[in-house]
């Protein structure tokens, strides 16, 4: 069994308290970071091959480096705790079971980017996680870990609850929401590191990305890099759900294969049934077939099969599943969550949902499939943000990989 790193505190009693966190070795990385030059911290993170764990997989150290050198503007660290990608729940576990790890990670990142204020954007529905995290922040303030007493200029955490919109998980949609507006993503350029929240240089990092930082600093970038693959270091938390025997959060090195996750870590398919399809990286990732699961679950593995690791939300489907029905559910999601700002996404997510709904109601037409595919391909890459590309992943892969099933349903006129 591989060593528990990110999940090592999860099952400790009162793991969410400062006392337990400290007893387990917490805040020692921050002690070390306080004595390091910001640029040195960034170098370590670059060397560790830490990639963003929210969905985009961008090298974290490189992202930090985009903050203009010598800028005297206030810099904001924004934590994306707006977990919303269907199939993903690992950030919730961190907030509930290891909130101080996030606080420590924030302190380290803030030092690296010279930030005095961290905004933690927690999705509105996460009420218990919010309460637990808020209590941990209070503990940190009381202990002098946060606030003006923090050496180097002080660091404050502002917790900001969302109000129900998946698009606020997109980094600039989150920033708009933080600014008190609708969660409309912003045009890029300018990029957040140049002009982000409230017009200032901003780094948006995922919860899980930040909780890797204490481990990188205490045990070294090389060690972290060595845990993973050539392009991505460390372990990560895989959220596995659907038709597996043991759904839940699985920590594994990023070299773990999808097959291993499903069959070794999660007990295989429930009821001894057969695997029909699996989504490797949250609903926005293209679906994979049973012959495509011998891939490492790092930033490159699913990509080699035309999919993506995304948020590492693994949704497993057995042979009882109607793929057209699954497409309808996913299409309904994208239509509901489209922010409406730009034309291709706003207009076609609704239309594609209508078509997918008609198909499962037995009223599909033979031209529907090619229409969905063509419209999706025409919209991909044309929108303000990657939300639509996330919709296109399932639109195209479900139909292309299970076309026979769709055509049979349309021909039969049956309900899915």
């Amino acid at each position: 069994m591989a060593e528990k790193i990110l999940t090592k505190n999860f099952d400790l009693r009162d793991s969410h308290t400062l006392r337990v966190y400290r007893e387990a070795g917490g805040y020692r990385a921050w002690d070390k970071a306080r004595g390091m030059e910001p640029a040195a911290i960034t170098e370590e993170v670059k060397k560790s091959n830490l990639r963003g764990l929210g969905g985009a997989g961008f090298p974290t150290g490189v992202k930090w480096g985009f903050i203009p050198k010598g800028s005297t503007a206030p810099k904001y660290l924004v934590v994306n705790a707006d977990e919303g990608e269907p199939g993903t729940f690992k950030d919730r576990y961190i907030l509930e079971r290891d909130p101080h790890a996030l606080i420590e990670g924030m302190l380290i990142a803030a030092r690296a980017i010279d930030s005095r204020v961290g905004f933690v954007y927690i999705r509105g529905e996460y009420v218990q996680p919010w309460r637990i995290f808020s209590a941990a922040v209070k503990e940190a303030y009381d202990a002098g870990l946060l606030g003006a007493a923090v050496p180097g200029g002080g660091f404050d955490i502002v917790i900001h609850r969302g109000a129900g919109a998946y698009i606020c998980g997109e980094e600039t949609g989150l920033i708009s929401s933080l600014e008190g507006k609708k969660g409309w993503p912003k045009l890029k350029p300018p990029f957040p590191a140049i002009k982000g929240a409230f017009g200032q240089p901003t780094i948006v990092n995922n919860v899980e990305t930040l909780v890797c930082l204490p481990h990188i600093l205490t045990r070294g970038a090389e060690w972290f890099a060595g845990l993973g693959t050539k392009t991505q270091g460390g372990t990560r938390l895989y959220s596995v759900s659907g038709h597996v025997v043991r759904p839940g959060v699985v920590e594994a090195p990023v070299s773990v294969t999808l097959r291993q996750l499903i069959y070794e870590h999660c007990g295989g398919i429930r009821g001894g049934r057969a695997l029909k399809a699996v989504v490797p990286g949250g609903a926005s990732a293209a679906i994979l077939t049973p012959d495509e699961i011998d891939i490492p679950m790092d930033v490159d593995g699913p990509k080699s099969k035309g999919s993506m690791i995304g948020s590492a939300g693994v949704i497993v489907m057995d042979d009882t599943v109607s793929i057209p029905d699954a497409l309808m559910v996913v299409a309904r999601f994208y239509a509901h969550e489209s922010c409406g700002q730009c034309t291709p996404c706003r207009e076609s997510t609704g239309w594609i949902y209508k078509m997918s709904h008609r198909i499962v109601e037995g009223k599909g037409r033979k031209e529907d499939l090619d229409n969905i595919l063509d419209v999706a391909k025409r919209g991909a890459g044309t929108t303000i943000c990657a939300f639509y590309d996330g919709a296109v992943g399932p639109y195209i892969s479900y139909i292309e990989k299970f076309r026979d099933e769709f055509e049979a349903l349309i021909r039969s006129g049956a309900h899915a």
Partner: protein, 161 residues
């Protein structure tokens, strides 16, 4: 409960509004928290509340209305004492969300989006609440209830005061 048709924050609440506004480089950042506060205080967010909150932020009522209508957690009509939000996204759907929703409809006698006549429960279907390991699941007020079966749902709904 304060009157949503004639909304006014108390001095203490106004002080909290100012405190929240001060946390952000631009006070507009406090709009979502203040709307949550208003909803907790008044029960839902009426048009009058939108206009009132606008005055606290130097925002036109139209721009507050944009925010309230954009986010799913702000109720523009009175809601039940309890909100039961059943997830119907992919993992929950795979694990039987349809049956859960049907049982809720039968037990409560309303369709998703509606409130029971006695004002006790508003039933909603929602997108992923990110508790897929407990699928099928629902959110009941502030807490998540997972690994649901139709019978378990009966028990939870009966237990709502």
């Amino acid at each position: 409960m304060a009157d949503p048709r004639n909304p006014r924050f108390t001095d203490q609440q106004l002080a909290e509004v100012r405190r929240l506004q001060g946390l952000y480089p631009d006070k507009r950042g406090a709009l979502l928290p203040v709307l949550h506060m208003a909803q907790d205080n008044f029960g839902y967010i009426s048009l009058e509340i939108e206009a009132y909150v606008g005055t606290l932020f130097d925002l036109s009522a139209a721009h507050v209305h944009e925010v309230v209508t954009f986010y799913t957690m702000y109720f523009q009509q009175p809601k039940g004492r309890h909100v039961v939000a059943v997830c119907h996204n992919l993992s929950c759907h795979l694990m039987g969300a349809k049956d859960i929703i049907e049982r809720c409809k039968t037990a409560l006698g309303v369709a998703p989006g509606e409130t029971t006549k006695d004002g006790k429960v508003t039933l909603l279907t929602v997108e992923c609440l990110c508790a897929c390991e407990q699928a099928p699941m629902m959110q009941v007020d502030d807490r998540y209830e997972g690994l649901l079966t139709p019978d378990k749902v009966d028990g939870i709904l009966r237990g709502l005061a």
